[in-house]
Every structure is written in C-alpha cells, then in structure tokens.
Amino acid sequence: MIPEIGHFALWLALGVALMLSVIPIMGAARGRGDWMAIARPAATLQFVLVAFAFGCLVAAFVGNDFSVLYVATNSNTSLPTHYRVAAVWGGHEGSMLLWLLMLTGWAFAVARFSRHLPAPVLARILSVMGWLSVGFLLFLLLTSNPFDRLANPPLDGRDLNPLLQDPGMVFHPPMLYMGYVGLSVAFSFAVAALIGGNLDTTWARWTRPWTTVAWIFLTIGIAMGSGWAYYELGWGGWWFWDPVENASFMPWLVATALIHSLAVTEKRGSFKSWTVLLAILAFSLSLLGTFLVRSGVLSSVHAFATDPKRGLFILGFLVLVIGASLALYAWRAPSVGLGARFEWVSRETFLLANNVLLMAACGAVLLGTLYPLLLDALGMGKISVGPPYFDTVFVPLMAPLIFLIGVGPLARWKQAELPQLARRLRWAFGAAIVAALLVSWLRGHLGIVSTLGLAMAFWIVAALATDLADRLRPNGIVKTSVLHRARQIPRAMVGMMVAHLGLAVFIFGVTMVKSGEVERDVKMAVGDTTEVLGYTFTFRGVQSLPGPNYRAAQGTIAVTRDGKPVTTLHPEKRNFPVTGAVMTEAAIDAGFTRDLYVSLGEPLDGGTWIVRVYVKPFIDWIWGGCLMMAFGGFLAATDRRYRAKVRQTQAADAKVVA
C-alpha cells in the first residue's frame, strides 16, 4: 500500500509543479497579485509531497518490501538498517528521487527565505524552479519509477553493492546533490532576471548567498567522494579524473568563477551578462553530469545501469532547459547595461582573469571527458583520455590562477597601480620562493614540480598575511586596538581569506603527498617486519571474523617508530556471500602529518600474506583544505548584509534616527 501512496504523491506533486510553473510567472507578466501569491504555497506543497513520497520509499527499504522492484535489486534482509536507508539512493531511480527531493527542497528554501524579494521577481524565480520540477517528475514517473512492483516478489533482495556499504554512502550523494541541485537556484535567479529585465546589483546581491551555499555543499560533496574513494577502494589514490568525477568538478569550477564574477557585479554592477551566462552554465553542467552518468554515453566506474530510452529523455530535457535558457540569454543579454567603469589594471580585471582561467580549466576537463565520444561519433577511432592528460593540462592553468589569488584582494576597485602592488607583494613573493626551496631541500626532493607546488601554497599564505597586516595596521586618525581593527574586517572578507587559505592547505597536501609518498608490497609471515620512512610495520597474523552480512579475514599489524608503539592496524578482506564479492578494507591511521595505510593482498602458503604498505605525508591536508574552503564559504554567506534580521533591525534603527 505504502509504495502506491508514495507513487500517487508524486503524481500530485506533478500537478502542483505544473501550476507552479505557469500561474505565478503569468501573474508577474500581467501584474496579478493573486496569481503571484500562489508561488510560495505551491513550492511548499510540492516539497511536502515529494518528501512524503521519499519517506514512502525509505519505509519500503527499511521494511524490506521486496515486492518493490527497486528495493529487491538494491537491498537485502541482512543489510544493516542505516545502509538500507542509504540504499534508497544506491540505484538510478532512487537517486533521481533524491535529486527531486533536493530540487523541491531548495525551491521551498527560496520561498521561505525571500521576504525581501519583490513579488514579481519571486514569482518568476519559483516558476522557473517549477519548470525544472516538472521535467524531473515526468522523467521519474515515465521512465524511472522507483515504486514499480514485482509480480513475483523474491524472498530476499540482491543486496546493495558491498562497495557502497559504507558511511560514505550515507553522506556523499546527499551532500553532492545538495550542491548540484543548489546551483538551480542561481540558474533560476538568472533566468527570472533575464525574463523580467531586472538585472542589477541588487539581483547580484540576492543571488550571491544562494550560490555560495550551493558551492559549499558541492565542495564538501566532492571532497567526501574523494576521501571515500581513498579509504574504500584500496588503491591509495584519491582522484582518477573519471568522467563522473569530472562531471562534479566542472560545475564546481564554474560555480567558483560565478562566485567571483558575482563579486564584480554586486560591487560595481559590471559584467552582468557574463555573470548571468555563468549562472546558466553552472547548472547546465549539473544537468550534463546527470546525463553523462545515466545515459551510458561514457564508461565510468560510477555509472548507473544504463537504458538508452532514459538517456534520450534526459538529453531532450537538457536540450529544452539549456537551449531555452541560452536562447533567452542570446535575446536579452545584448540590452543589459555596462555597469561601472574600470581600468585595465584593477580588481575587476584580476577577477575576470580569474574567470578566464577557471573557464579554461573547465573547458579542458570537458574536452578531455568528451573527446573519446567526439572521435567515436565522427568515426575517427577510439581513444582513452585519463589522468596523464588531465594532470598535464590542468596544472599549468592553475599556476597563474594561484598567482592571481595573491594579487587580486590587494588591488583596488576601478583602478589599481601595478608598481604599487608589486612593491607591496615583493616580500611575500620572495618569502614564498625561499620557503619552497628550503622545504624541498630539507626533504631531499628538489624536483621542479614539487617545489613549484610548494611555492604556490606559500605564495597564497604570504600574500594573505600581507593583506591581513595592512588591515590590522593602525590607520592613524583614531586610536584602536589590533583586536578592534580585526573585528572591523567584514565577515565576507574573513570568509575569503579562510577559503583561500584552505586552497593553500589543499595545494600543500597534494604536493607533499605526490612527491613524498612511499608504497611497498611485501610478503609477510608472522613476525616479519618492514620499514617505511621511519615507521616499522610488524605482521602479527590473520584471523577469521564474522560480520553482519560478510565473513572477514582480519590482519593485525603493529606499527612502531623509534621503538615506540604508534598504532595497531587491522586491514580486512571481506567475503559477501549474497553477491559473492570480495572487498579489500584498508586500515588507515590518519595523522596530522601523515597517513599510514595498510591493505591485505592474497594469502600465500604457510600463513604468509601479501601486504601493501603506504606512508602518505600530509594527505589529510587535501580534505582538510577542502573543509576550510567550505568553512570560508560559510563565513562569506553569513555576512551581515545577507541576514534578513540584521537588515530589518538596521532599517528600524534608521527610522528611529530619522
């Protein structure tokens, strides 16, 4: 019964979404207040219905209802409860319902937190989000219904892929989808503004926090995906430039460009049409990513079970949404104003150069991801494009970008002087180079690439310190304390600094691990030891352990350094009887300056096992840096100029004073 109710809720949601798509935007065009007023309640009702349907699917999983086809293919009675919930988004249909839940959730959030938006603007925005809901609801209901029943329900399900039975599965897809789908808000703001003709600095100020929040989720989602791959897959890597990874990275690059472009548009009113185009492109790449993962067009370890009919539907939806919005852009953008004036050397141009570099990087990733398809479609053969290509092409684009991160924040709006900037930054530049050379020499790795990587990280920190020092310097007229001057720095600026610092931490981690990690494959009998980078690993044997739905061979490896015990690691090899799969669970000792990573290979005769040992210096700085970036974004998004209550209080104060 419950699946049917859930299914029905989705049909109801489609009805509401259709109303939301049509009535408010027509009301905005005709000045009908009552039509526009439908937007908020419709967005709320749409979300409630989809959330209810989602709840029904969760109930079917938790209750082991194998008469539902989707539950039978993705779950099993021996699956622990929290993984039964995660299994809801383990396959194509359920993950599409999760997408829809996020989409209607964001629309609800916009409806809820937009009291400051004029009614016609809000009406148009919510209607656009309604169009997106209609598309996804139709896709779900017509081609990918998670509530389809099986005529002869099996006694037990096929089980969730063991690779996905992991905490990462509980968090990574929801976080990622929140980011992907969150970009639909910036998209809707942009399309609504093109339709209504109200592209101005106010529009940019409204759009910015929504974009930043979506960007935060996307950053965390991608970082989690990378971290999960690292500890789960057992190959010690954390980024493979796989098509699906690229599909999440491209919107991130464009969203980063968008955040910076919105800064120009908000402060100076310039480059409005470029910002609008970026907002459209960011979400378009989210949609493209959805297509790539589910259509079977590219080969990927992440790809869902493919069906050309579904692929065609999504492509049609893509062409409609992206084509229409780009056509609207082509029609309306030429009449958008120029904004305020600025010179060749100014903060504006540095930010735009940032955009050019980020878009070139995104273009490179898109080119590499789609090139095999391009050649195949033209009958020119079949090639593969993998990490060697992306690493070669991506890093040189990043270097000038990182140089700009140091210069941009110190440049003045409208007009900056290069000699003055050079003078202010020369010690930072020198310090970065010297520090990089020093660290390289101390480590004994004087490679050009790793030294450059270190220099980039140190440059960001040094330039940041320069900016901070300027802001904390007494400004002469009024005597203030350092702390007071520190508090004067707007939260958005602090957010920027933290985010940029996070990037420096990320680059440092990547450089140190890529140039300094050591891997060793050895045959170990009980009592055997191996030494890697000062750590001694001693093999203590393997025992058999039962798990909830698997049987494990668990190894014990004691780690010491200079004779002092560091930790004991327990890598496992798990056998899942239902699917017959064998999973390798690496054991990791995460540390501030290094990870110790051990995994079991195959057993040999006489209790000897093949053991793989890694020592990875500073690898956790990679994800730590991403989290810092996300935190910086959080600080920026919660700056007082976006907080409604603060604005109201200020307005009230202003009234009192007047």
Binding site: R268, V301, L367, V393, K523, G527, T530, G601
Partner: protein
Amino acid sequence: MHKFLLVLLAVCCLARAALANEAAPLAADPVLEARMTRITAELRCLVCQNQTIADSNADLAVDLRRQVREMLRKGDDDAKIIQYMTDRYGDFVLYRPPVKATTMLLWFGPALMLLFGFGALAVVMRRRARAAANQFEPDDPALFADPHQS
C-alpha cells in the same frame, strides 16, 4: 636421544627467529617492478575499463603485467612496450592519448581556450574604453570610502 631432540629444537627456534625478520619484497626485482608499475599505470585495463593495468586484478591485467616485466628484462624500452600494447589493443589502451592529427585539438585545445578567453577579455575591455561616459553606472561612494575597499 634427549640431547639430540633439544639441539634440534634449539636449531628450529633459532631458524625461526632468523626467519622472522625483514619481509621480502613481493617483486623479485623491485627496480624492474617500479619501472613496470610506472608504465602500466598509464595503460587502461580493457576488462574493467576503469582501472589501470597496474591496479587491476583482472586475469588479462595480470598477464599483461607479466608481459611487460619480460619485455623490460629483455631490455625493451618504454616506446617498444607502448607499441606492443597499441599493436594489439589500439590507442584505447593508452590513458595518455598519443599526439596525432586526430588528437591535436585535444592537446592544444586548452591553450587555445585560454588564448580565446584572454583575447575576448581584451576585446571587451577595448570596447568599454571606447564607450561614452554616460553609458556607465556611477561609482558607489560607500565602497570607495572604505580604505580597504571590502
């Protein structure tokens, strides 16, 4: 008899202690192994297709790693090994696409995009420089009053 057994036991214990020491590397020749891994890390496993031949546990990957080891022992260089692979499996097996006529756009594309981007920026800046003052919006005094221009 007892003495003999005691000596035998002692010898066994000593041998055991001597054996429980530095673990032997899995590879017979670690230097060769490192070279093999470096080469196969850029080759695509054709069975699973989303892993390198260095990492894959598929039978074919195991066989091809063995093949590369043999070729390295024979003295073949990287180019010869890559040729061996592409002769049998085509360019698909290379994760680093070869630079040929069909991949020119791939390898030079990013640089072209960068040039196009900066070129477009320059064109737009020049166009703005030529525009009359009244086409621009006025500056926000609040922004320029702040010495740090946040």
